[in-house]
């Protein structure tokens, strides 16, 4: 039987177990469909690992160390914010910090290509993003799919090739026609990660909040709900309210605390204490 996890050193020299190395992922291109889920908390991360989700994506926020611990064995990519790191040097420094905290790969969304090339010289694995990129929507005229014409599709191919040349291992492709990405996937060595770009890509990517049905935004057309967590969370909140109500009413009716919840004092000591207090008045 094949072992589920392999022993690896991460870039920060921690010895651990992972489902994949970056080399495994690259070698699986065209052979096996992979899944990637974006998680925002430790609970989602633990559930994704238990479910056998192949790749995880998350942000570098304060939750990251908990997320890494909760899904210690799943290949994890972490976003490196470019806005707060407006130079090659700062971006690289931030990238190192995130690697040190246990990331297996970085997400260089919106990055300057020169920075990616620079990062690549350190042999740090990273993925990037093309097609519809939320922060760049002004360049494509709003929230829409990208690549429906031959001209746009060529632009996309050029973007992907440029990113391939920086040394990236993967590329998130968002809201691109299914048949265009099918062609491009054959033309690039990058692992293509589709979100709203059809089923011919090497990996399928969704947000945990969409899968679970608790999206903060209007539910995107390309996503699919596999559970109704909004309803479930309402139910749990009601349980919380009921518990607190019960506590409230038990206190008011003197049912709580009862004998078994309290500490007693020896009668003689109590009498002496009362005497002491009387003298204080």
């Amino acid at each position: 039987m094949k072992k589920k996890y392999k022993r690896v050193f991460s870039i920060n020299n921690d010895l651990g177990y992972r489902n994949y190395t970056v080399r495994d992922i690259i070698q699986l291109k065209g052979k096996r469909k992979l899944t990637q889920v974006r998680v925002t908390n430790a609970e989602e991360a633990a559930a994704a690992e238990e479910a056998g989700i192949d790749l995880l994506l998350t942000g570098p926020g304060p939750e990251f160390s908990k997320i890494r611990k909760a899904a210690a064995k799943t290949f994890m990519t972490v976003g490196v914010p470019f806005i707060e790191n407006p130079s090659k040097r700062e971006a690289t420094k931030k990238a190192f910090e995130i690697i040190e905290a246990g990331a297996d790969s970085l997400m260089c969304q919106n990055w300057n290509l020169d920075w990616m090339k620079h990062l690549s010289k350190f042999r740090i694995p990273f993925q990037s993003h093309v097609g519809f990129i939320p922060r760049r929507t002004t360049w494509i005229g709003g929230i829409r799919s990208f690549g429906k014409t031959a001209k746009e599709a060529m632009e996309l191919l050029r973007d992907i090739k440029n990113i391939e040349n920086t040394g990236a291992w993967g590329i998130e492709v968002e809201l691109v026609p299914q048949n265009i990405l099918a062609e491009i996937t054959k033309m690039t060595s990058l692992v293509t990660i589709s979100i709203g770009s059809g089923n011919a890509a090497d990996a399928q990517f969704l947000f945990a909040e969409d899968i679970l049905g608790q999206s903060q935004i209007q539910f995107p057309r390309h996503a699919k709900k596999y559970a109704d967590f909004e309803k479930l969370m309402q139910k749990i909140q009601k349980e919380r309210v009921n518990a607190f109500k019960e506590f409230n009413s038990e206190v008011r009716s003197n049912k709580f605390p009862s004998k078994k919840n309290i500490i007693s004092i020896d009668k003689k000591e109590l009498i002496n204490f009362k005497k002491f207090l009387t003298n204080q008045k």
Binding site: M154, R158, N199, A208, I211, L212
Partner: protein, 285 residues
């Protein structure tokens, strides 16, 4: 119709609505039993407000979210006192928390001189006596305090010092019920009982104990009560998450997801044109 909440100004002159002011609470001493819950998340805070819990208390970690989730409930906030080695530093922190909208500050292990200094700004303060976890080495570990005369006197004296400083309330932890019953009559402050019997002015518990977390460990203290079993609830939520992810995974592998309705398709003519252009594409490498 009379609103359930009254309009108040916070110390930073922001107007808001609250269930109680400090003065209301002092006026209610020995007239109404109040409740206080320690919350650590906005969900717990919102539930406490909805359940009409009188007072909530929390730490600095998720304070802003918690204030927003329970905007109308009298909120006390604790400070990580080991981060403040001077009274000026701790006062600055108090101002920051007040600015976020807390109604009172918990001073549980502070230097008394610091408490006095902050009190001089008329910031409402709550103290802590009896068994104080961070000071338990002085009282002999995790055990009740005040079971004999000299310990009971010490509890009384500690309370009197806080009263003199100007605190409006004091948390009294793991003190014999009869001792707190007597002391409650002897102080103007509200006594907040946790494990110290029914005679305190306020009953205090942790949300995690009320909801029933960590039931498999020995973490629920004897004086607390579990009204639910959230261990089981969370296990079932976890299972539902795992199931959803498993379905996604198997849909992808079996090519059931994404289907046509999740995808965009390029026009055949454009696709052919693209294939033609792409076959001649040279990226210069």
């Amino acid at each position: 119709m009379k609103s359930k909440y009254k309009k108040v100004y916070s110390l930073t002159h922001k107007a808001g609505f609250r269930n109680y002011t400090v003065r209301d609470l002092l006026d209610l001493k020995s007239k109404k039993k109040l409740t206080q819950i320690n919350v650590v998340s906005p969900e717990e805070a919102a539930a406490a407000e909805m359940a009409n819990i009188d007072l909530i208390i929390t730490g600095e970690n998720r304070l802003k979210e918690i204030r927003q989730a329970a905007p109308n409930t009298f909120l006390t906030c604790g400070i990580k006192y080991t981060e403040h080695a001077s009274k000026e530093s701790i006062t600055k922190k108090c101002f920051e928390l007040i600015e976020i909208g807390v109604d009172s500050i918990h001073t549980n292990s502070w230097n008394l001189n610091f408490i006095q200094y902050v009190s001089n700004f008329n910031i409402p303060l709550q103290g802590h006596v009896g068994f104080v976890p961070m000071k338990s080495t002085w009282t002999g570990g995790v055990k009740p305090v005040g079971k004999n005369l000299s310990e009971a006197i010490k509890v009384y004296e500690d309370i009197k010092v806080l009263e003199k400083i100007g605190c409006w309330a004091v948390e009294v932890e793991c003190v014999p019920a009869d001792v707190l019953a007597e002391i409650t009559k002897m102080t103007k402050m509200l006594t907040i009982s946790i494990g110290s019997g029914a005679k305190g002015d306020v009953q205090f518990l942790f949300a995690e104990d009320i909801l029933g977390y960590h039931l498999d460990s020995t973490k629920t203290p004897r004086h607390a009560k579990n009204y639910k079993n959230f261990d089981d609830t969370l296990k079932s939520v976890h299972k539902k998450r795992v199931d959803a992810f498993i379905k996604f995974q198997s849909d992808v592998v079996s090519k059931k997801f994404p289907s046509q309705k999740h995808s965009v398709i390029a026009d055949k003519k454009e696709l052919l044109k693209f294939k033609n252009l792409a076959s001649k594409f040279n990226d210069g490498n």
